[in-house]
């Protein structure tokens, strides 16, 4: 079986190849969008450097925003302004959730900022956004949170500096997009992420938007190699974002508790339908370079 080769990726990513038959018949897999006519090679084939600098700018924009918004949030916590702190919690997390896979590169920083209580090892300290979330919503208080807030503020400033040093290449960016969608399906769709505030849908959208931005920065490679796959992914993002529309409220979203089982099922299926084709992208950008 090892002598078989994958002929599929060059034709279209969603292709099965008969493994060992004499005739390596590609089996086209139904895509969830109508097959668009080949658009032919784009005017210019992008370079890896283009993709990386586009995405790097996006990360830095988001860490800057994270620092500003976290400052407003933690200032409110330190000042004991409960209502204001609650209102600023979800927006402060948004930029973080858009670029989470990058933040995860730096060892203990992600757990310090974003661990849920069950992520904390026995004997460890529970810090970061969710520690404060717990106090704000379950105790309805900011009492004792000032040190946690100061630490959180320091941690995001450290992150802002560190992301400038991160190594990026197009395949890593593509895999990061899949990672963000996996985040959605493992913790956002279940309501585990923001279990006290039920603001999970903010994080949900931020993960998807962040994945879309990562995809956009490498998309040109795929358009040149496999336009059908690119179209499938574009319409997959559109479908997920449209699926969130009914739950929008004001500048944000309704409480996660409003979702019925049928709603979470439908959203989860949309995420899976997008993440599968997206998982084909890394291999294409590697061969395209």
């Amino acid at each position: 079986m090892t002598s078989c080769r994958t002929a599929g990726l060059a034709l279209a990513a969603l292709v099965l190849v008969a493994a060992c038959g004499g005739s390596a018949t590609p089996i086209p897999i139904a895509s969830s969008v109508p097959v668009v006519g080949s658009t032919g090679p784009e005017a210019s084939i992008p370079t890896a450097a283009d993709a990386v600098s586009t995405y790097r700018a996006y990360i830095e924009m988001n860490t800057d925003l994270l620092v500003t918004r976290t400052k407003a949030f933690t200032d409110a916590v330190i000042a004991g302004k409960l209502a204001e702190a609650k209102a600023l919690y979800a927006p402060a997390r948004e930029p973080y959730e858009r670029i989470e896979p990058v933040a995860e590169v730096f060892g203990d920083l992600d757990p310090a900022i974003d661990a849920r209580i069950n992520d904390v090892p026995a004997g460890g300290t529970f810090t970061g956004f969710h520690r404060i979330e717990e106090a704000l919503w379950t105790k309805n208080s900011t009492a004792g949170m000032a040190p946690i807030a100061k630490k959180l503020q320091a941690d995001v400033i450290q992150l802002q500096a560190l992301v400038k040093t991160v190594d990026l290449d197009p395949a890593t960016i593509a895999n990061g997009a899949v990672g963000l969608l996996n985040e959605v399906s493992s913790s956002k769709i279940t309501g585990e992420e923001d279990r006290y505030s039920h603001t999970d849908l903010w994080d949900f959208e931020a993960n998807v938007v962040g994945a879309q931005e990562a995809w956009n920065s490498v998309k040109a490679f795929v358009v040149a190699r496999s336009p059908d796959l690119a179209a499938t992914i574009d319409s997959g993002f559109a479908a997920v974002l449209a699926g969130l529309d009914p739950f929008k409220k004001g500048d944000g979203f309704v409480s996660y508790t409003v979702l019925k089982p049928a709603d979470t099922l439908a959203l989860s299926q949309l995420i899976d339908a997008l993440a599968d084709p997206l998982s084909q992208v890394a291999a294409i950008v590697v061969t395209a370079q």
Binding site: R5, S31, P34
Partner: protein, 418 residues
């Protein structure tokens, strides 16, 4: 959980694929006699995928099942057709023990085949595809323009007495029945088909079954169900051509034409009240079924295959086989000659957290030429008076039109899409 025979997986690598399809798996039931002394390792045997009828119906029942019902997510007819083409190609590969794609491909891409069946061999895998009523006319509009082609025989099942059907484990636009000698081969098939269809279809519910409860050929030994009784003794046999043609396959003159050589599947997840059953005396258990527990003989008989005598009276003047006994009420003689091919599997999904009792029973599946004159009247009678009702409850249900088989180059369901 699996109680099957120890099978050498390594032997497969050395031996390659045995030809010879549909051979009898003698002796696997433990109680029966091996009828083929030189039977090949079932793990290496290929069941033919192509044919007049789909495989997995007349095929000698394999030991395991993974069943799945799917919702179709797209409303585009061409995407549904494309999916059936992809599924057909993948199924044909898997039936011969091959992966659906190169398992050692591009290191930067997810493997095309998920890999867990790589060394397991074909293991007599059959994949049987069906179309549910909702495919033809969903709750909404006629999504695929198929409403006019819905077979009259695919009439929604009526509610039966005592049903406690859970909609989350019932119905479906499509179904795939994967049967194999190896549970992981069956599981892999459904997993990879679901993956291929991601975005176009989604699994609605699924059921894993660990042991067959039917013999479906004359040569096959009768297995036991979770009540501890031999099950399948008086089943229709897939190799009994005249009975199959008269009762199971949609005939050449039947409507609609696209279903000819197809059949209809009724699947019921029947939970057994095992703890209550286990408190019942042997005598009462035997009266409930109408057969002896150990020998499987009908009450009044000695051997498993003895003729069931529904007219026999005991010294007390009462029927030897009680009026409410399962086999009396299910027998063709009681139901105007109705014969269905049963192809069920025992299942367990752990314990019921509410009661601490076992969540297990029979994943009942039967095939017939027309459910309106097959499952429905028999089940109506059973639901009304079967003594077994004290110990069972139907909790899931599915009805599917199973289109005919195909020749190489065709795709499953092509007679429907024309």
């Amino acid at each position: 959980m699996t109680a099957g025979p120890a099978i050498s997986r390594r032997r497969l690598l050395a031996g390659g694929l045995a030809a010879g399809a549909g051979f009898a798996v003698g002796g696997l039931g433990g109680f029966g006699v091996a009828r083929e002394s030189q039977a090949a390792d079932p793990q290496t045997v290929v069941e033919p995928f192509y044919g007049v009828h789909q495989a997995g119906i007349a095929t000698a029942a394999q030991e395991r099942i993974q069943f799945a019902a799917f919702d179709v997510l797209t409303s585009k007819r061409d995407e549904l057709q494309a999916l059936l083409r992809s599924w057909t190609s993948a199924a044909a590969l898997m039936a011969t023990g091959k992966p659906v794609g190169d398992p050692a491909g591009d290191p930067n891409a997810p493997p095309i085949d998920t890999g867990e069946a790589l060394e397991l061999g074909p293991a007599r895998l059959t994949l049987t595809f069906g179309f549910g009523p909702s495919l033809f006319a969903g709750p909404g509009p006629d999504r695929f323009g198929l409403a006019a082609l819905r077979p009259a025989a695919l009439a929604d099942l009526p509610p039966f007495a005592h049903d406690e059907l859970d909609p989350t484990i019932s119905d479906g636009d499509l179904c795939v029945q994967a049967c194999a000698e190896d549970p992981q081969v069956a599981f892999h098939a459904i997993r990879d088909l679901a993956r291929i269809g991601r975005g176009t279809v989604a699994i609605r519910w699924a059921q894993l079954g660990f042991g067959r409860t039917s013999s479906t050929t004359a040569a096959q030994a009768t297995p036991r169900n979770l009540l501890g009784f031999l099950d399948g003794t008086n089943n229709v046999h897939g190799d009994d051509q005249p009975t199959m043609d008269a009762n199971i396959w949609v005939a050449a003159g039947d409507d609609p034409p696209w279903m000819r050589a197809g059949t209809y599947l009724v699947a019921r997840r029947i939970r057994m009240r095992i703890e209550a059953w286990d408190r019942d005396s042997r005598g009462d258990q035997e009266a409930t079924i109408g057969r002896h527990k150990v020998s499987g003989a009908p009450l009044g008989g000695v051997n498993e295959r003895d003729t069931v005598d529904l007219a026999a009276l005991g010294p007390d003047g009462k029927p030897v086989i009680p009026m409410a006994a399962h086999i009396r009420l299910a027998a063709p003689a009681t139901n105007g000659g109705i014969r269905i091919l049963r192809r069920g599997y025992s299942f367990t999904d752990g314990i019921d957290s509410l009661t601490g009792q076992l969540d297990g029973g029979l994943f009942f599946a039967c095939f017939q030429r027309d459910p309106r004159t097959g499952f429905v009247p028999v089940q109506t009678r059973l639901a009304a008076s079967d003594a077994l009702n004290e110990y069972i409850v139907h909790v899931g249900s599915g009805l599917f039109a199973v289109p005919p088989g195909i020749a190489e180059g065709g795709y499953i369901g092509q007679t429907l899409f024309g």
